[in-house]
C-alpha cells in the first residue's frame, strides 16, 4: 500500500529525514518510535504533504502512485489521514461544518454526490459514541479552546468519520490519561479492516498495549536505526533509546523494512 524508499526531506536547507525506507501493506499496523527530535513528525507531515517541507531525495509510492507528486488534498481524498501531533485551532469554523465539508470533498473526488445531511448526522452521531465525545462539541469551533485530550479525540473523530485507508497517528497518545488512551485505542481498533493500514507514531510503548503493531521501527537522527516485531517496543521500554542511537554510526543509512 505504501512504499517509502530512501526518503530525504528537510526544511530550509536543513536535512531532517536522511534516508527512510519503509513498506506498509494493507491490514498492517506499524509503530514508529524514537526520541524527541528524531524526525517522526517530519515523516508524518511529509507523507501528508505539508508544503513547508522539501523532499530532496527518494520516493514514496501509495497504491502504485507517486504520493509525493500529489497536493495534500488529493492525498486525503485518496484515503490518507494524518492525526496531527498538534491539531490546529480554527476559530470561526464549527466542527459540524468542517466534518461535512471534508466528507463531501472526499465524496466529490470519487464522483459521488454530497451526502444527505440527515444521513451524515446519523454517521457523526455513531462516530461520536465511538470516541466518547459529546455532540455539543459539533457546534464548537474546530479545536478552538479544546483541551489537549479533546483535540486528540477530535482527530480520532475526524478519522472515524472520514474512514481513511492509511491512517498516520502522530503521538495521539501524548498527554492522554489512561481512560482517554483506551478510548482512542478502541476507536482505532474498531476502524481496522483488512484493506486499511495504520502507522502509529509514539514516544511511549504504553499505547502499543492497546494497539498491537505488526512491526516496530525506531527512528533516530532522521533514520530508521532498528526494526522488529512488537517485542521491540517492550525492549525499548526497558532499555530506552540510547543504546540504539549510539550504535547507529553517523553517515550510514539505517535499513529497515
Amino acid at each position: 500500500m505504501l512504499e517509502i524508499i530512501d526518503l530525504h526531506a528537510g526544511i530550509a536547507d536543513r536535512e531532517i529525514l536522511k534516508g527512510i525506507s519503509l513498506t506498509v501493506r494493507a491490514g498492517e499496523v506499524h509503530a514508529i518510535m524514537g526520541p524527541n527530535g528524531s524526525g517522526k513528525s517530519t515523516l508524518a507531515q511529509v507523507l501528508a504533504g505539508h508544503p513547508a517541507y522539501e523532499v530532496t531525495g527518494g520516493s514514496a509510492t501509495y497504491d502504485g502512485e507517486d504520493l509525493l507528486a500529489l497536493p495534500p488534498e488529493e492525498r486525503a481524498q485518496k484515503g490518507i489521514f494524518l492525526a496531527f501531533q498538534y491539531p490546529v485551532e480554527i476559530p470561526g469554523v464549527t466542527n459540524a461544518y468542517f466534518l461535512r465539508a471534508a466528507y463531501n470533498e472526499i465524496r466529490k473526488s470519487k464522483g459521488l454526490d454530497e451526502i444527505d445531511p440527515m444521513d451524515f448526522a446519523d454517521l457523526v452521531e455513531e462516530r461520536l459514541r465511538l470516541v466518547d465525545m459529546d455532540r455539543e462539541m459539533l457546534q464548537r469551533a474546530v479545536n478552538a479552546g479544546f483541551s489537549g485530550g479533546e483535540k486528540k479525540r477530535n482527530e480520532i473523530l475526524q478519522m472515524a468519520v472520514l474512514g481513511p485507508r492509511l491512517a498516520i497517528l502522530d503521538e495521539t497518545d501524548s498527554g492522554l490519561d489512561i481512560d482517554a488512551l483506551r478510548v482512542v485505542a478502541h476507536g482505532v481498533n474498531s476502524l481496522r479492516r483488512p484493506d486499511n493500514a495504520t502507522i502509529v507514531v509514539t514516544h511511549y510503548q504504553r499505547l502499543l498495549n492497546y494497539i498491537v503493531p505488526d512491526r516496530v521501527h525506531v527512528l533516530a537522527g532522521g533514520r530508521i536505526v532498528k526494526s522488529g516485531g512488537k517485542d521491540l517496543a517492550l525492549e525499548l521500554e526497558a532499555r530506552g533509546y540510547d543504546w540504539l542511537v549510539e550504535a547507529a554510526p553517523a553517515g550510514v543509512a539505517g535499513a529497515a523494512v
Binding site: A48, G49, A52, E73, A76, Q77, G92, A101, E105
Partner: protein
C-alpha cells in the same frame, strides 16, 4: 478647482427657497464659506495622511439635487436582507423614491420620513436637531454636505417606544446618477428609553462612477438604545465619504456596525460622544477590499462623562493591491473617570501587495480608567491551511474558509439576524475564486 464647482452648485441651490427653510440658510452659508476657505483635505491634514482625496477633488461632478433614476423593485432585491415587513425608505441617486419605499406597521408616534418632507412640513425636532451634531469642525466633507444636502432619512422614535423591526434607509445609485455628487443627510432621534434598529445601506445598480457624501446624525436621549448598521456596497467605481455622528445621553446604548466592501475609494467616519454617565457604545466593523480599492475607517469615541463603556472591534481583509486604513481614536476627558474602553483592529492580508495603515489612538486625560487597544496585521496561517487541505479541502476552498472564519467572528456580533446572515453570506462570497493560488 471643483471646489468652485461645488460653490456654483451652492449659489444655484441657495436661490431655491422651496428647499431652504429660513433657519437653515445661514447654517448652509457658514458651511459653504468654510468649505470655500479650506477646500478639500490634503494628505498633510491630520487624519488624512493615508487617504488622498485628490481623486474626488480633481473630478467634475454634476449636482444630483434634481434626482432621477431608473431603479426597479427587482433591482433592490439583493440589498433588502430578505425582509418584507420592514419599513424601508429608498433613495435613488440621493432623492426619496416613494414608489420603491414602504412604511410598515410602526408604533404610534414613530415618524419615518424623507428629510425633504420633514423639512417642508417644518417638523420641530428637525429644526431643533438637524446640523446640531455634525458641525463645522467636522471638516470639508461634512461642510459640503451641510451646504448642499437635499434629502435623506428622518427617523424619530418618541420616549419609551420600542420599534421591533429594523428601519432600512437604502441609498441606491444607478446609471442616471453617473458622474453625479449626492449629499444625503439623515437624522435619527431616539427619545428617552426609546429603542430602534436602523440599517443604512449604500448600494449601486450597475457600476456607475459617482460621489456619495452622506452625513448621519444620531441623537440618543437618556436610556435610549439604537443599533445602527451601516452597509457600504457602492459601485466599484464610486467614491464614498460618509460621516456618522452620534450623541449619547445618560445610560444610553449605541451599537454600530460598519460593513464596507464597495467603492474605488471609501472613507467612513463614525464618531460618538458619551455625554452622560453610564453610556455604552459598541463600534464594530468589517472591511473587505481587493483590486486597487482604498477603504478607510476613522472612528472617534469621546468619553466626556464618567462611568461609560466603549468596545470596538474592527476587522479587515485585503487582497490584491487593496489599501486599508484604520484610525480608531478614544478620547477620555478629565471628568470621564471609570471609563472602560477596549479597542482592537485585526487585519488579514491575502496578497503581498495589499497594505494596511492602522493606528489606534488613545488620548486619556482622566486617571482612573481602564483602556486597552491593540492592532494586528497577518496572513493566513500556513498550518491552518494545511490542516484543512489534509482533510481533503482544496487550496482555494481552504483559503476561502479561513478568510470567512476570520471575518465571521465580528459579523456574528450583529444582533439583527437578517443583517447578520446577509453579511455572513457577503463575507463568505466576497473573495470566492478571487484569491490567487500560492498566497500565504
Amino acid at each position: 478647482m471643483t471646489v468652485h464647482g461645488f460653490l456654483d452648485d451652492f449659489s444655484k441651490f441657495a436661490a431655491d427657497h422651496g428647499r431652504n427653510p429660513e433657519w437653515l440658510l445661514p447654517v448652509r452659508r457658514a458651511a459653504i464659506e468654510r468649505f470655500g476657505e479650506r477646500g478639500f483635505p490634503t494628505t498633510r491634514d491630520e487624519d488624512w495622511h493615508f487617504t488622498s482625496a485628490a481623486r474626488i477633488a480633481d473630478a467634475e461632478f454634476v449636482s444630483l439635487a434634481a434626482g432621477g433614476g431608473d431603479v426597479r423593485a427587482a433591482d433592490l432585491e439583493p440589498f433588502t436582507f430578505g425582509a418584507t415587513d420592514w419599513t424601508q425608505l429608498v433613495f435613488v441617486n440621493g432623492r426619496y423614491t416613494p414608489e420603491l419605499s414602504a412604511v410598515g406597521a410602526l408604533p404610534a408616534g414613530v415618524r419615518v420620513a424623507s428629510l425633504a418632507d420633514a423639512l417642508r412640513e417644518g417638523v420641530p425636532a428637525v429644526r431643533e436637531r438637524l446640523t446640531s451634531l455634525a458641525a463645522l469642525d467636522h471638516g470639508a466633507f461634512v461642510a459640503l454636505n451641510t451646504a448642499l444636502f437635499v434629502d435623506g432619512g428622518f427617523v424619530h422614535v418618541p420616549a419609551n417606544v420600542v420599534v421591533e423591526r429594523p428601519i432600512h434607509l437604502l441609498f441606491v445609485a444607478d446609471a442616471d446618477g453617473a458622474s453625479g455628487a449626492a449629499h444625503p443627510r439623515t437624522l435619527i432621534i431616539a427619545d428617552r428609553h426609546a429603542r430602534a434598529t436602523i440599517v443604512e445601506s449604500y448600494v449601486a445598480v450597475g457600476d456607475p462612477m459617482y460621489f456619495m457624501n452622506p452625513v448621519t446624525e444620531v441623537v440618543l436621549a437618556d436610556g435610549a438604545h439604537v443599533t445602527h448598521l451601516r452597509v457600504q456596497r457602492e459601485s466599484e467605481r464610486a467614491y464614498h465619504v460618509g460621516t456618522t455622528q452620534a450623541h449619547q445621553g445618560r445610560d444610553s446604548k449605541y451599537s454600530s456596525f460598519s460593513f464596507a466592501t464597495g467603492a474605488a475609494l471609501s472613507r467612513t467616519n463614525i464618531y460618538t460622544v458619551l455625554a452622560g454617565p453610564g453610556g455604552e457604545v459598541t463600534l464594530n466593523g468589517l472591511y473587505m477590499a481587493d483590486g486597487t480599492q482604498h477603504v478607510d475607517h476613522q472612528t472617534r469615541i469621546e468619553h466626556v462623562a464618567p462611568n461609560c463603556t466603549s468596545h470596538e472591534v474592527y476587522k479587515g481583509v485585503l487582497d490584491d493591491a487593496a489599501h486599508g486604513v484604520f484610525n480608531g481614536k478614544v478620547y477620555v476627558h478629565p471628568e470621564a473617570q471609570k471609563t472602560d474602553g477596549k479597542q482592537t483592529n485585526n487585519n488579514l492580508l491575502l496578497s503581498p501587495d495589499a497594505h494596511i495603515d492602522t493606528k489606534p489612538q488613545l488620548e486619556i486625560f482622566a486617571d482612573d480608567v481602564k483602556c486597552t487597544h491593540g492592532a494586528t496585521v497577518g496572513q493566513l496561517d500556513e498550518n491552518a491551511l494545511f490542516y484543512l487541505r489534509s482533510r481533503g479541502l482544496g487550496a482555494d476552498d481552504a483559503k476561502t474558509l479561513l478568510t470567512y472564519a476570520f471575518a465571521a467572528d465580528v459579523v456574528q456580533r450583529i444582533d439583527e439576524p437578517a443583517v447578520r446572515d446577509a453579511l455572513e453570506t457577503l463575507a463568505r462570497e466576497r473573495f470566492v475564486g478571487a484569491m490567487p493560488a500560492g498566497v500565504g
